[in-house]
Amino acid sequence: MKKILAYIALAFISVSCVDLSIPPKNIVTSEDLLSNESGIDIYMARMYSNMPFEDFKYLAQWGFNFNGWLNSFGIEGTGEALDRDGICTTFTNEDTPYWSMAFTLIRDANFLIENLPAYKGSYPEPMYNHYLGEAYYVRATVFYAMARRFGGVPLVTNVINYPANQDDLEVPRSSEKDTWDQVAADYDKAIELMLPSSPKSGYSNKYVALAFKSEAMLYAGSVAKYNETVTGRLTGTGQKTGVRVIGFAPNEWQEASKKYFTEAYKAAKEVINSNLYSLYKKKWKANDPEAQYQNMIDMFSDISSPENIYVKQYTYPTLTHGFDAYNSPFIFRTPLSSGMCPTLDFLEQFDGFNHYADGTLKVTTGATNTQGDYILYDSPMDLFKNAEPRLRAYVIFPGDQFKGKEIEIRAGVYTGSTPIKPFFNDYSYASADNTYQKLDSYSKKPKTLYLSPREGSSQERVEADGFSMNAAGENGPFYDNGESCLTGLYLRKWLNPDPAAEIGEGKSDQPFILMRYGEVLLNMAEAAVELSLAGETSIDGSNLLDEATEAVNEIRERAGAKLLTNTLSSTNVGRDVVRKERRKELAFEQKTKWDLRRWRVQHYEGRNGLWGEEKNKDMYSNNTRYRFRGLYPFFSTKANKYFFDAHYQWISLKTFEYTIVDYYFAIPGNEVSKSKVIDQQPNR
């Protein structure tokens, strides 16, 4: 008891009457962060780790979760690739909408813009300006990411202090036009303030901002123009505010579109004229397809590439992703595989193949794929022997090499007599469900077609004509296994080609190129043709169409594709040459889903333009729905040769659907219902 009293007494003694006014040491203050370079590094690192970059940590269906789980892209109904899972669906919303987290990042940027001036004296002026420029660049990036999702968004351009009046806290959506103007203004401010080269790795610079500005303005110009091509004009005013939150007014779209295309053109030209960047051609040799192919593989992992403008880097073991773990061929499956299987429709865009009159790949001797006999090849690679080197660098063909192994892809073995007639008399959309396992030659006697439901012991064995072999290839396709090759083709781009590289979740550290010079050239070319369509001949003295032609040829030369011999025309056909080149060059780079969106070519009425050029939508659509095809290699034991069948996706058939309302994502319902000023999209 005495002891307790003594403690109480002691406690009283140690009470002081002086107020504590020293800032607590465990709280980081603005002073700590903004008054010195290492503090700024931390501030920037925080902002950059929250940037809406679509790389190996972004999946379109899920939105920005900043994890790399199941990372696959090009599977959003773009036609580039297919995947077995529900994530393979059109880009009509994101499970985690890019809304509230966007405003957190905008706040960080605004805070820097408002508070850095107090510490101006701590830095040399160019550095001070650069830091400020970074803040504008971050804000531009966020507004751009939001604008292409939602149209007009709340333009919060200052730090809103809390608590405050309800009226100060609530910011309504601005018009789509004002939003794009803000994006342009923020990029301009960043371009004006930032250094011409990044002060540190990971920082941005003036040309990064210019390159992204050209991409953003191309989006804005396209939206302003192509909203007009959509049934009922895609625009409307918000119910609560009356603001034109999506689209442009009838009397302003034309001018706005031209203005944005001009901005896109000028920004891209400034990057080009700087002569700081060039297309990657370290191993490129004229007239050498093998060298051109190898060159285009290397360019995606060579961090010293002069084509790289902005790169997200990874380092094992601290900052990694799992791209190889999800998208490698089946034989490398750890723990998954075949997440991005390129389609035949994608392949048909490239040079070096024979086609039927309707533009589809020729697989038989007849005039269509239901006529004549299958064309026979000694090895599957023979079909691809003249393929454009760029395609071979992007896609693994059946029988091609990857990671030091031959990638065996075989749909089945045919033991019937030769010449071989096409398996089906109808390959239309309506009969996409008619698959090989439903053929009489497979299920009835005499059995002449062998297919495998799964790998390993589930492989059907074929003993015929002296052959003793598995029906399907090592990578499938297996008709009951969505982790095998779905389309007969595999992705090569981005995959680590090093045979020694271990595959696994969190084991990959290839960089992701967010912006490269190739895109800048294509941005310039597209803006140039659009301006020419709008009646301009020149913006800065040089002829727009000549420049666009030259840019396309530069890309094509490096790709090993056929060069344009005539100057592009000022028509939609000329424009489509640039669009198609863009679809080919920038495939599997998380860009195409946005291009289809801004061209407004994904809904049924506009879908003839899905492939960048006019292609009859009814070949692969049924109203709002559409599907893609694969290219399936078979082996004939009688002929000891291979043949190919072009069929709608055989394994895990995906049907995509897209309607006009999807061109603008819905505003998250909870944001609309809790606010007096936030409008839902007027067309929803």
Binding site: L234, G236, T237, G242, G247, P250, A430, T659
Partner: protein, 276 residues
């Protein structure tokens, strides 16, 4: 040992209670949603139901509960049944605004600046069972002329499409909304939906057999009121002995609600066809 188990058990039980809020023991006393609305959409001229398809391409019913104050979000949308009627038996008691959108002249019309021109939505106190009837002006009327024929597993149907509202009437209603275009009234396509399901329509169509005919510009104008033959997809044989259901549909080049890009079809009655 036995004691220890008891102690552990006791502690766990106690901590369970510790984290329990008292609400757990209270019954949710909010009245369950048990009010009913029964509605139908009919042609204001003939009184016939507007036939549709149950899905987001059909007639959308949007209810908004107004007693929450100014800033209200509408309830989740639902859609008319294919016969043009709708029913919801799980509604909370309250005051609702009911709006429908479908292949008819929009009942809510505003000009370019959002100034109301017409508003034929209904605002009702819903308690018990409430009946509601919307009288609208459908764009088109679609009918089968006779019983479809079948040959070699392919269905051939004779269809007649007439206007539910004349072009002049349409223009009079729609033009004040701004950006009027004379192409709005063009009939763009006729569909023949085929399905094993009796609720055949766009949603339940079988893609193997359903077919369409598309028309460019105003080329359909001469075909209005005439018999048009539309067949299921050639080469796709419908198995013999099966019963399938067919419906015809047609639409004009005008989306409802404006800006949604959704051009909704007017439908015929479904018909059952036996494949010989």
């Amino acid at each position: 040992m036995q004691n220890m188990k008891k102690t552990i058990f006791g502690t766990m039980l106690f901590s369970c209670l510790l984290f329990t809020s008292c609400d757990v023991f209270e019954l949710d006393n909010y009245e369950e949603p048990k009010e009913t609305i029964i509605g139908e959409v009919v042609d204001s001229k003939t009184g016939e139901r507007i036939l549709t398809d149950q899905g987001s391409e059909g007639i959308r019913v949007r209810m908004t509960e107004l007693s929450w104050g100014d800033n209200v979000e509408h309830n989740p949308d639902f859609y008319c049944k294919s016969d043009g009627s709708f029913q919801n038996t799980k509604i909370f008691k309250g005051t609702y605004n009911i709006r429908i959108d479908g292949p008819f002249v929009p009942i809510v019309r505003e000009d370019e600046r959002g100034v109301p021109i017409a508003n034929d939505t209904k605002t009702l106190d819903i308690e018990g069972t409430i009946n509601v009837k919307f009288e609208v002006q459908p764009f088109l009327k679609v009918e089968f002329v006779d019983y479809p024929t079948v040959s070699n597993g392919q269905i051939a149907a004779r269809v007649k499409v007439t206007r539910g509202i004349s072009n002049d009437e349409f223009r009079e209603k729609i033009e004040p909304m701004g950006n009027y275009n004379s192409s709005f009234t063009n009939v763009t396509d006729i569909q023949l939906f085929v399905s094993y399901s009796s609720s055949v329509g766009y949603r339940a169509r079988d893609e193997r057999w359903s077919n369409k005919i598309e028309y460019v510009g105003s080329e359909f104008e001469n075909l209005l009121g005439k018999e048009i033959t539309i067949k299921s997809i050639k080469g796709q044989t419908i198995p013999s002995g099966k019963h399938v259901f067919v419906r015809a549909a047609a639409r004009i080049n005008y989306d409802t609600p404006a800006g949604s890009g959704t051009r909704r079809w007017n439908y015929s009655e479904p018909m059952e066809v036996i494949i010989p």
